[in-house]
């Protein structure tokens, strides 16, 4: 999860209640923020686009501008120090993008502190701006836009908007794939009839953000040479035409979703803004616009919102649509699901403290209006969680479910415990080895031919872990190999699962195995056979060993393990002295013997 630093001064200037530093951290934690603590951030400004970048005391200054992509290694004169800022650092809570910035977070706190018990309505009027969506945009079909006027910015607030944009790209946009945002200085835009259209890779020229107005870049060049172009080319380059936003004077506003043009860029003198969000899912596009626009309005109470008409063929609609989402909540359900003593008024108050508008219905239920900037209310239960958060998890009295049920363990686990008791009684130490292994260990270094019955990992992290194990022996030999400096004899065992392909629902099943190994100057077949016999005795079996040619063992010193119970004889596994060839491979310098048994065959206890 990305970490964000919320400037403490910007946050608290919008809140009447002034909590102490520790108190503020506690409130934020109760709201679900994963707070790391306070920090003093060092700031650097990009000389080319004015972007402010923050680093912690331990980080190195930025090497590339995260807005325009300027490379500060080749142009160090473009990077300048821009003072320090006191911030509270927290991990982003992906489901609450409305709390990603000081404006939105202050809004949450005002409600939580009961300073305001209504969500702000964000009144809007219709602007004269129209964006026409043209043909050929299958790769990025949806657009939503807004106009914000009279918003006074300074370097800090520009940074807040840029940072919010970046974090919304992460949380809602899935790295610009589902949604991406563009913010422009409205006063640089010509006319009011804009076009969201597509162009060929060489069809148009413009100066991308960070390059002087005279420079001419085609979309193809941007994708190839601009740092933002190479970073996001994958989102559009598989299509012959690229999405582009043009104003009425044919000025390029942005190559979408890559980069804005230099000529339309936002500066601290900008007061009027045009915002667009484009993407693959209409719901996400609209939610993203709602989030950025309302958070921008929170930065300056004097700012005003205007809607933009989106025209697509014969259809047209205005965005943003900040109509609250209606929901109904039964307060009794809420209280009983949470196990808290809240009545209807208590539930209502909790919901209001979470920013919802609440009205009581004649039937006792609550009509809830969920603010348009909330993205996470899919169901009544999401409102119930809001009630729990407002009530405070720390205020909930933990209880237990009153219903009695009868516990029952897996029969295999009972047998496993009996096996552990037997082998530890014989002086064996239990070990655990890794479940993920590789074919060399599982087959080659036991002298066994490779087989096709194992689970294969598609994209392994390392060549050591390409499959799920099919035998416990390699893990035991490996454990002995890291203990060659330890006194002899060594006796170890493992109870664990192996996996084999089969015709079950998932195509593979686990099989519980038990393996034991011993190493030392006097270790031999007879001693291991005695151990195996003792174990089988505890499971009610009489041991019979029949010659085996398994190449893991010395020829003539390997055996199949058969167990007899009455008339029945079951094949349980293998036993023998390990072939010196494999001892040598594992760097072991003494005789070793081992057995491996199938637990399911060994049966219940």
């Amino acid at each position: 999860m990305p970490v964000i630093g919320i400037p403490v001064d910007l946050l608290l200037e919008r809140v009447k209640t002034q909590p102490g530093r520790q108190e503020l951290v506690e409130h934020l934690q109760h709201l679900g923020c994963d707070v790391e603590g306070y920090a003093t951030m060092r700031r650097f400004a990009c000389g080319r686009c004015g972007n402010l970048m923050e680093i912690t005391e331990t980080e190195n200054p930025p090497v590339v501008c995260d807005r325009c992509g300027t490379d500060f290694k080749s142009s160090p004169e473009q990077l300048s120090a821009a003072g320090e800022k006191d911030v509270v650092r927290m991990e982003l809570l992906a489901v609450r993008p409305d709390m990603f910035d000081p404006g939105g977070l202050a809004r949450t706190l005002r409600n939580y502190f009961k300073e305001t018990l209504d969500s702000p309505g964000y009144p809007s009027k219709a602007s004269e701006y129209v964006v026409t969506v043209e043909e050929g945009l299958e790769q990025r079909p949806y657009i939503a836009c807004a106009v914000v006027r009279n918003l006074k910015l300074d370097d800090d607030k520009i940074r807040v908007i840029m940072k919010l944009q970046e974090n919304l790209h992460w949380a809602l946009g899935r790295d610009r794939k589902r949604a991406s945002i563009g913010v422009y200085d409205l006063d640089t835009l010509q006319g009011k009839q804009f076009r969201y259209t597509s162009v060929g890779p060489e069809e148009i020229e413009f100066a991308p953000l960070g390059y002087s107005a005279g420079e001419k870049w085609t979309p193809a060049r941007v994708l190839k040479e601009h740092t933002k172009g190479t970073a996001y080319a994958r989102l559009i380059q598989n299509h012959p035409r690229y999405p582009i936003l043009l104003d009425e004077g044919q000025q390029v506003m942005a190559l979408i979703p890559i980069i804005n043009s230099e000529s339309t860029k936002v500066s601290k003198n900008s007061t009027n803004f045009f915002i667009d969000v484009t993407g693959l899912e209409e719901r996400i596009v609209n939610k993203t616009l709602n989030t950025i626009v309302t958070s921008m309005l929170e930065l300056d109470p004097g700012a005003g919102l205007e809607t933009v008409k989106i025209a697509s063929g014969p259809n047209a609609h205005n965005t943003p649509d900040l109509t609250p989402q209606p929901a109904i909540l039964n307060p009794k359900t809420a209280a009983s699901r949470l196990g808290v003593p809240l009545d209807r008024d208590g539930v209502s108050e909790c919901l209001r403290r979470m920013g919802h508008e609440v009205h009581e219905r004649p039937d006792g239920n609550l009509d809830v209006k969920v603010p348009a900037y909330r993205n996470d209310i899919l169901h009544e239960v999401d409102l119930i969680e809001d009630v729990a958060i407002a009530y405070g998890y720390h205020n909930i009295v933990p209880t237990l479910v009153p219903t009695l049920t009868v516990g029952a363990e897996q029969p295999l686990e009972i047998a496993a415990q009996a096996a552990r008791a037997s082998l530890t009684g014989l002086g064996y130490l239990e070990v655990l080895t890794l479940i993920l292994s590789n074919e060399a260990a599982q087959y080659d270094f036991l002298g066994r031919p490779r087989q096709n019955k194992h689970v294969v990992i598609q994209l392994p992290i390392s060549q050591d872990q390409t499959m799920v194990r099919v035998s416990l022996l390699p893990g035991l030999l490996d454990t002995l190999s890291v203990n060659t400096d330890h006194e002899l004899p060594q006796r170890i065992f493992e109870v664990g699962n192996i996996s084999l392909l089969d015709e079950s629902e998932t195509g593979a099943s686990e099989h519980r195995r038990l393996a034991a190994a011993a190493i030392g100057p006097r270790v031999d077949f007879a001693g291991m056979r005695a151990t195996c016999e003792a174990l089988l005795r505890e499971f009610g079996y009489r041991l019979e060993t029949r010659a085996s040619l398994d190449p893991v063992f010395l020829p003539g010193r390997g055996a199949e393990v058969w167990g007899h119970r009455g008339e029945q004889a079951v094949h349980l596994g293998l036993l023998g002295e390990i072939h010196p060839q494999w001892l040598e491979h594992y760097g072991l310098g003494h005789p070793a013997a081992a057995f491996e048994l199938d637990f399911a065959a060994l049966g219940s206890c």
Binding site: E385, T405, G407, L429
Partner: protein, 501 residues
């Protein structure tokens, strides 16, 4: 007073002596082994005064034999020189003396140090001193002669000092052995004790079966041990420390009335993700975070009605009253096999198989994530997952159950913080207080299953659910530096880690 037989003999013998006597003489007089007598004297330090003197003993060394039998080559050389008329060529001397030229060469330094001959170029000339030496013996020769009968103390030998000096440079001919000579006599308390009367009893080391049968144990004393001495270290075979934690975890949930369930390591995306309302573009489903499987190539799907209900829930909420995720749910992706990323897959399978309350189910087992290996992360780790399906279940009883578990695992202070998981609402993360870290440490996530998770399987009552990491409990309890220490373990660590702490 009772003493053992040797003590009795020793003390009464010493009482007869007027002065000091060496331990050697004492042992000979008692007819006992000298080391045994010595040890007895030392153990009775309050009664026996022991005075020690360092003495040097000499005996013939390993290289002495040829010299004892044939004499030193320099003596043969001067005898030959005399026969040759007082001087001679080196080779002629060797031939005359009946020794090799090499022997002559090695003898030159002794001829010179004894002053018997001088060398001029290749000629040896007998000196006056050399002439006189013929027919007499030197101190070294007399010393060898004296030691022929065996080891002797150097102060008793006339030629010891001079002889050893002459033998310098001839290693291994005479061995010097420093020894402590002990003189003993009774102390005043010792004399008093003997005068008061001693009684002898046999002292034995080991109680034997014969003593039991004969009843002899009644007549003997058992040699007292120094009980403060260390004994040899032995170790029992035992359960792996992490298995202890797993067993303890299982025990807690069994005590709380849970039934245990299992589910396969290879799991379909349907059960690992979709059935838990995890949207198909969720980052957790990324190839970077999850182990996808190339064999088996595909999983089979469970009952079609389950697949249909889950799909509808993703698309528009289906019959659950939810808005759903509103995207194009793809029923091809759900057959993709993965190594299960959480044991919650076991929980949802258990719920689907039997959604009827009341039920409490848990599962302990390994889960797999494509993590880069470091001290805190391995691609395989263990979780305990549990669900409670109960009409009376509430978020408060979820917190209570979690608290009960961590109490039994040895923690005292808890914090519950809001969290987000796609399949639970409300969701919570549990933190425990660590005295060692002096901070809250996150232990795991929990919540109430969303209706989008439970209702497609026909479950309409609240379902409490959690998935808690177990490795971090081990890291706490055993103060591990790295999670990797649990696997490929050092046997030393396994042996030294107590079962109880």
């Amino acid at each position: 007073m009772y003493v053992n037989e040797l003590e009795y003999a020793l003390l009464t013998f010493l009482e007869q002596q007027s002065g000091e006597i060496t331990v050697g003489e004492l042992a000979t007089s008692l007819g006992k082994d000298q080391s045994q007598v010595s040890a007895t004297c030392i153990s009775r330090a309050e009664w026996v005064e022991v005075r020690e003197e360092e003495r040097l003993w000499l005996r013939l060394g390993k290289k002495a034999q040829p010299f004892v039998e044939g004499g030193f080559p320099e003596r043969k050389i001067i005898e030959a020189l005399e026969k040759l008329g007082g001087q001679g060529d080196l080779n002629a001397v060797a031939e005359k003396a009946g020794i090799t030229a090499q022997d002559v060469g090695q003898s030159l330094r002794f001829l010179k140090s004894k002053g018997w001959a001088e060398q001029q170029a290749k000629t040896l000339i007998l000196t006056e001193q050399g002439k006189q030496a013929i027919g007499s013996t030197g101190a070294d020769e007399r010393l060898l002669e004296a030691l022929k009968s065996g080891e002797q103390e150097s102060s008793a030998l006339q030629d010891a000092v001079e002889g050893l000096k002459l033998l310098q440079g001839r290693t291994g001919v005479v061995e010097e052995r420093p020894r402590t000579l002990r003189w003993v006599k009774l102390s005043e308390p010792g004399k008093a004790a003997v005068r008061q009367g001693l009684e002898s009893r046999t002292q034995v080391n080991q109680l034997t079966q014969e003593m039991m049968i004969s009843g002899e144990w009644r007549q003997v004393d058992f040699r007292p041990y120094d009980v403060s001495l260390a004994s040899e270290a032995v170790y029992p075979g035992k359960e792996h420390p992490f298995v202890s934690i797993i067993q303890q975890t299982r025990k807690v949930f069994l005590e709380l009335g849970f039934e245990e369930t299992v589910s396969p390591y290879v799991e379909s995306s349907f059960w690992d993700f979709d059935a838990l309302f995890q949207p198909q573009d969720h980052p957790a489903r990324d190839m970077q975070d999850t182990f996808y499987i190339s064999k088996p190539e595909q999983c089979k799907l469970p009952r079609q009605e389950w697949v249909d209900e889950v799909g509808a829930t993703h698309r528009d909420g289906g019959r659950t009253g939810s808005l759903g995720w509103r995207y194009d749910w793809n029923d091809k992706l759900i057959k993709q096999p993965v190594l299960r990323t959480h044991t919650t897959a076991s929980s949802i399978r258990a719920l689907a198989e039997n959604p009827n309350p009341p039920r409490k189910v848990f599962c302990v087992g390994p889960v797999f994530r494509r993590e880069t290996v470091d001290y805190k992360h391995l691609p395989v780790f263990h979780q305990v997952d549990g669900i409670i399906i109960d009409e009376k279940a509430s978020f408060a009883s979820l917190l209570g159950t979690l608290q009960a578990f961590y109490r039994k695992m040895g923690f005292q202070k808890f914090q519950f913080r809001p969290a987000f998981f796609p399949y639970t609402e409300p969701s919570v993360e549990i933190f425990v207080w660590s005295d060692r870290k002096e901070d809250w440490v996150e232990m795991g996530g929990a919540g109430v299953f969303r209706p989008e998770v439970t209702e497609p399987f026909g479950c309409k009552v609240p379902v409490l659910a959690w998935g808690l990491g177990l490795e971090r409990l081990a890291m706490f309890r055993y103060e591990l530096g790295s999670i990797g220490e649990l696997y490929r373990a050092r046997l030393n660590w396994l042996k030294e880690t107590p079962l109880c702490r």
